[in-house]
Every structure is written in structure tokens, then in C-alpha cells.
């Protein structure tokens, strides 16, 4: 019980801080819409090329954007926790009896909620542009976005809080972001790639999440691809939770 109420307090505090920052809210709402409107039309053309996977262009493009949102919507939250650490907030919270799981969990929950709301906005905009999928797909899509969001939020906190420096954290995020983005078929499906690139991308776990979600959007919710995708996303979440709590506990070492 204490764990839940502590998590709730940390969650609400984070949410209040976000809501008092209108610029930031505006950007996070606009981002998915910009992607759809500025990149979507391009993709409609690409969809005509041979080798483009089954399903209409939106069914291929939107799952990729959702995965991207889950990862990059939360990958930078670490900057916030460095600021909190620097202003002494982390130490102040660590000296309370609050569960260490709650201290990171409440923050992760906040980031997850935001990323799910962004996902909903993205899907709404995609509907306007012509995406037609059943509700069950929407639910699974948002679930996967939530899993990834939670995982990368926790990973971001863990990395940032152990580095404690924006100058070290920023290049680290970039180092991971580029291969994840390029080798996962998030923006363009890997079926368009030459053979060697496809093999390399198979080693990228995120690629399997994207493939899984594309299967869902094709209506194949009960497919092995979907299962693999969800399991990989869950794996990231477990890794994130484990590392996150470890780093929080290490703060008092």
C-alpha cells in the first residue's frame, strides 16, 4: 500500500510539473502530427515501389511511428532527472522512507501516460488521414507504446542518474538512437533493404517490435510476430526496471 501511495505522489508531482509547462505540452502534441503530415505523403509514394510489405501505407507507417514515439518520447527524460538531482530533489526524496521503486516508478508512470496520450493523438490524426483499424488494434498499439515508453523512460533515468552529467548523457542517447532508428525499419520497412542490411537489422530487438506491431495493424493480432514483439518490449521493460531501481539504490552507496 505504501508503495502505491508513494508512487502516486511521485507520479502526480511529475504530472503537475509537466502541465505547468505549456510549451513542452504543445511540442509533444504537435510532434506526432508533424510526422504524419510531413512524412506520411512521402511514404504513400514509396508504398507503390515493389518490395513494400502488405497492407496499405498507413498500416505500415503508423506502427513504426508508434514505436518511435514509445522510444524517443521518453528517451530524453534523463535530462530532467539530472536537473532534479542537481537541485537536491533526489537526495531529499531518498532520505524519506518512500520505496525506491516508487521514486522511479512514479516518474516512469508519468512518462508512460504522456506517451500513451501522444499515441492516442497520433492514431486520431492517422484516422483523419485515412487509417482504418478496429479498436482492438488501437488498444494493442497503445499497450506496446506504453511498454516501450516505460522501458525507455526507466533506462533513460538509469543512464542519466549514473552519469549525472548532461554532457555525458546526450552523446550516450545519440549513440543508441541512431542505430535503433536506422536498423529497425521504423520509418521505412526493412523489406526494402538489401540482404546484408536486413540481416544486420535482425539483430536489433526493436525491429521485432516494429514487425510485431505491423502484424497487429494488418489484423494479425494472434500471430507469432505479435507475440515476439510484445515479449521483446516486455524484456526492455524488465531490463529498464531492474537497472532503474539499481541505480536509485546506488545513490545512497
Amino acid at each position: 500500500m505504501r508503495f502505491l501511495s508513494d508512487t502516486y505522489v511521485v507520479f502526480l508531482r511529475a504530472l503537475r510539473l509537466s502541465l505547468t509547462n505549456p510549451t513542452w505540452m504543445f511540442i509533444s502534441i504537435m510532434q506526432p502530427i508533424l510526422y504524419l503530415t510531413l512524412f506520411g505523403p512521402l511514404l504513400l509514394e514509396v508504398a507503390k515501389t515493389p518490395g513494400f510489405p502488405a497492407g496499405d501505407a498507413w498500416q505500415v507507417f503508423v506502427p513504426g511511428l508508434l514505436v518511435q514515439l514509445g522510444i524517443f518520447g521518453t528517451a530524453f527524460v534523463g535530462f530532467g532527472i539530472i536537473a532534479e538531482w542537481r537541485s537536491g530533489v533526489i537526495d531529499r526524496m531518498l532520505v524519506t522512507p518512500a520505496s525506491r521503486w516508487a521514486l522511479i516508478g512514479g516518474r516512469v508512470l508519468h512518462d508512460t501516460l504522456l506517451v500513451i496520450v501522444q499515441g492516442l493523438i497520433l492514431l486520431g490524426a492517422a484516422y483523419v488521414m485515412g487509417l482504418r483499424v478496429p479498436w482492438s488494434v488501437v488498444v494493442v498499439g497503445l499497450f506496446v507504446v506504453g511498454l516501450l515508453g516505460a522501458a525507455f523512460s526507466a533506462l533513460s533515468y538509469a543512464a542519466a542518474l549514473s552519469l549525472k552529467s548532461e554532457n555525458a548523457f546526450a552523446p550516450l542517447v545519440n549513440m543508441f538512437a541512431l542505430p535503433i532508428l536506422l536498423l529497425s525499419g521504423i520509418l521505412l520497412p526493412m523489406s526494402l533493404a538489401p540482404f546484408w542490411l536486413r540481416i544486420v537489422s535482425d539483430a536489433n530487438p526493436i525491429k521485432h517490435v516494429v514487425e510485431g506491431l505491423r502484424a497487429v495493424f494488418r489484423g494479425e493480432i494472434a500471430s507469432p510476430e505479435t507475440a515476439i514483439g510484445v515479449v521483446v518490449a516486455l524484456g526492455f521493460l524488465l531490463l529498464g526496471a531492474w537497472l532503474g531501481v539499481r541505480v536509485f539504490k546506488a545513490q545512497t552507496k
Binding site: 537536491g88 530533489v89 537526495d91 522512507p97
Partner: protein, 326 residues
């Protein structure tokens, strides 16, 4: 888990902390013993880098000791850190509020992490803010507060759950004299009304002198002195006696005579002025005057100065007095 001695709220033995920096090992705290009785206000003094913050962080469960053991507020520091956390308050040297957050929200959220209901937190928060002259900041962003206001907000947050023991790391840095006096009053009231034990570090000698019941002095990671202000002052330099003679020619003779007094150090001559230290200046003065009178040395002026805590501090930790003695 009861402590061996129930009236000791802090009992640390051999507490030690070594920081691993890139190459060097920094021995910040070198195996210190600390005893604090329930209801005491203890002043923890030491020059910059002496190890005060490190010690406090260890006692507050924020930093694992490299060695040693401690019971804090009845709980074992190493095996029951959560028990310690529940019973203590801590105000860190560098503060703990986020600039973008509203002051009132930070106070309430902090209280709720101690399991205090929201309504109680608001009530207590407002009362505490008022007690420290901070009415009207509830809806202000923390970075819109002045340095001293923000510092007092930190203190409010450290006290919000009415802990039985509170660690204050230089709480009065940046406070104007009036706010400082107000803070002292509040700390005394805490002790008198709630029986709160206060462990406070400070660089202000007058603060330690007036507020603390007992003082610990730490230097280079070791406790170099403990005791009440009076005990420390007696122990160290003794009183300074300054005699101005009517005739500078007699200074040598006077110094020779005075150096024979019980407990006196070697007098220093400066023209017609003779400086010396004796254990108790007030009691020694009649004997000094009689001695000089008997030898027909005329005195133009006398001054006796009681040592201040500053003198004690300098003697124990500072270079200046050590260099003089050498």
C-alpha cells in the same frame, strides 16, 4: 531494536567514509564516535572539507559508511535504514527544491512521502511557513524566491513530519541576521515543545555559541574536541591578560615575574605592553596587581579577555594560532 543506552538518540562508533575519486582515495571521515542525547541541540563545527556533510549524510542513510556502525533514533543504520528514515529529518547543505515547482506543492508532496495525509500536510506546511516568516509563498515557484527564502523553505520541508531527530546542514547560510535569530527561536521551541533533538552544522560561531547545548569539532575527518562551550573555552587558550605599564623600561622585569604565575604561558613584550595567558583571568588579576605593586612597577592599564568560540576553533583547527604557537 532498542539502543544499548536508551537516552542516546545517536550512537556512532568508528564511523568512516573513504571516497574513491579518479585516482586518489579521499578519507573524508576517519572513524569517528558520536553520542547525542535525546533532546539535545548539538553544534557540529569544522572548517571547509572537514567532513561534516559526509558525516551527516552517513547518519541520514544517504551515504553508506565505509566502516563503523551507528544507531540512529533507535534503529540500526546499516540493517534498518528505512526505520532511520522514518524517524529523522534532514536539510541538506545544498537545498532540495526544484526551481519550476510551486513551493506549497513541494512541501505537501514531501510530507506525503512520509505518509502524512494531504490535509494535515497543508495545515502543518502553512503553519511552519508562517513560523519562519514565509507566508504568501505557497503559490510561488521556488526559483522565484530569494536565496534566504528558499533556504527557509528547505528547513520547513525538513521539519514537516515532526521528526524526533533532525539534521540541519548549515541551515542558516544566506539568512539575514533577523531570519537567523528567528530560526534559532524556532529550533529552541522545537526542542522545548516537541523534545526534538537537533544536530546542526554551522560556520557561524555565534550561532553555535548561543544555540547549541554541546559542541563537536571535526577537522580532517576526526573529532578534535567535544564539550559544552564553557568546557571548550576553558580547555583551550585560557584568558588573555594585557598589561600596559607606565614605564616601558620595566617590561622585562614584569614579564619575568608574571611568567612565574601558576599556569601562565611565556609573556610577550611589545614596548610597554605585556601579553600573557592564564587559565582564569578574573581570579589571577588581584595576584598580578599585587605582585607588580610589591615590585614597584606601575600599571597604566589592564584588560582581561575571555576566549571566544572563535579562539577555540582557531586553536583546534586553524593555522594562524598553530603558527603563533610554533
Amino acid at each position: 531494536m532498542p539502543t544499548p543506552s536508551p537516552d542516546l538518540i545517536v550512537r556512532a562508533r568508528g564511523l568512516k567514509r573513504v571516497y574513491k575519486s579518479r585516482k586518489a582515495l579521499i578519507e573524508a571521515v576517519r572513524g569517528i564516535d558520536i553520542d547525542v542525547r535525546r533532546g539535545e541541540i548539538v553544534g557540529f563545527l569544522g572548517p571547509n572539507g572537514a567532513g561534516k556533510t559526509t558525516t551527516l549524510k552517513m547518519l541520514c542513510t544517504l551515504l553508506e559508511p565505509t566502516g563503523g556502525e551507528a544507531q540512529v533514533a533507535g534503529c540500526d543504520l546499516l540493517t534498518d535504514p528505512e526505520g532511520v528514515r522514518r524517524r529523522i529529518g534532514y536539510v541538506s547543505q545544498s537545498g532540495g527544491t526544484l526551481g519550476d515547482a510551486l513551493a506549497g506543492n513541494e512541501v505537501v508532496d514531501h510530507a506525503r512521502l512520509y505518509g502524512i495525509p494531504k490535509r494535515t500536510a497543508i495545515e502543518r506546511g502553512k503553519a511552519l511557513l508562517a513560523a519562519l516568516d514565509l507566508e504568501g509563498i505557497w503559490d510561488r515557484k521556488c526559483n522565484a524566491l530569494s536565496g534566504g527564502q528558499r533556504r527557509r523553505l528547505d528547513i520547513v520541508m525538513g521539519l514537516i513530519h515532526e521528526p524526533e531527530l533532525v539534521f540541519l546542514d548549515e541551515p542558516s547560510t544566506g539568512l539575514d541576521p533577523q531570519s537567523r535569530a528567528n530560526l534559532w527561536d524556532h529550533i529552541r521551541k522545537l526542542r522545548d515543545d516537541l523534545g526534538t533533538t537537533v544536530f546542526i552544522t554551522t560556520h557561524y560561531m555565534d550561532e553555535a555559541d548561543q544555540l547549541a547545548d554541546r559542541i563537536l569539532i571535526i577537522d580532517h575527518g576526526e573529532i578534535v574536541a567535544t564539550g559544552t562551550q564553557e568546557e571548550l573555552k576553558k580547555r583551550v587558550s585560557g584568558d588573555a591578560v594585557t598589561l600596559t605599564l607606565a614605564d616601558a623600561e620595566k617590561a622585562e622585569v614584569a614579564a619575568g615575574l608574571l611568567g612565574e604565575l601558576p599556569g601562565a604561558d611565556a609573556p610577550i613584550i611589545e614596548d610597554a605592553v605585556v601579553h600573557l595567558h592564564v587559565p582564569d583571568g578574573g581570579a589571577a588579576l588581584p595576584a598580578i596587581l599585587r605582585l607588580l605593586d610589591r615590585n614597584a612597577i606601575e600599571i597604566a592599564g589592564v584588560a582581561v579577555k575571555r576566549p571566544t568560540l572563535d579562539d577555540v576553533f582557531l586553536t583546534l583547527t586553524g593555522r594562524s594560532l598553530r603558527d603563533e604557537a610554533a
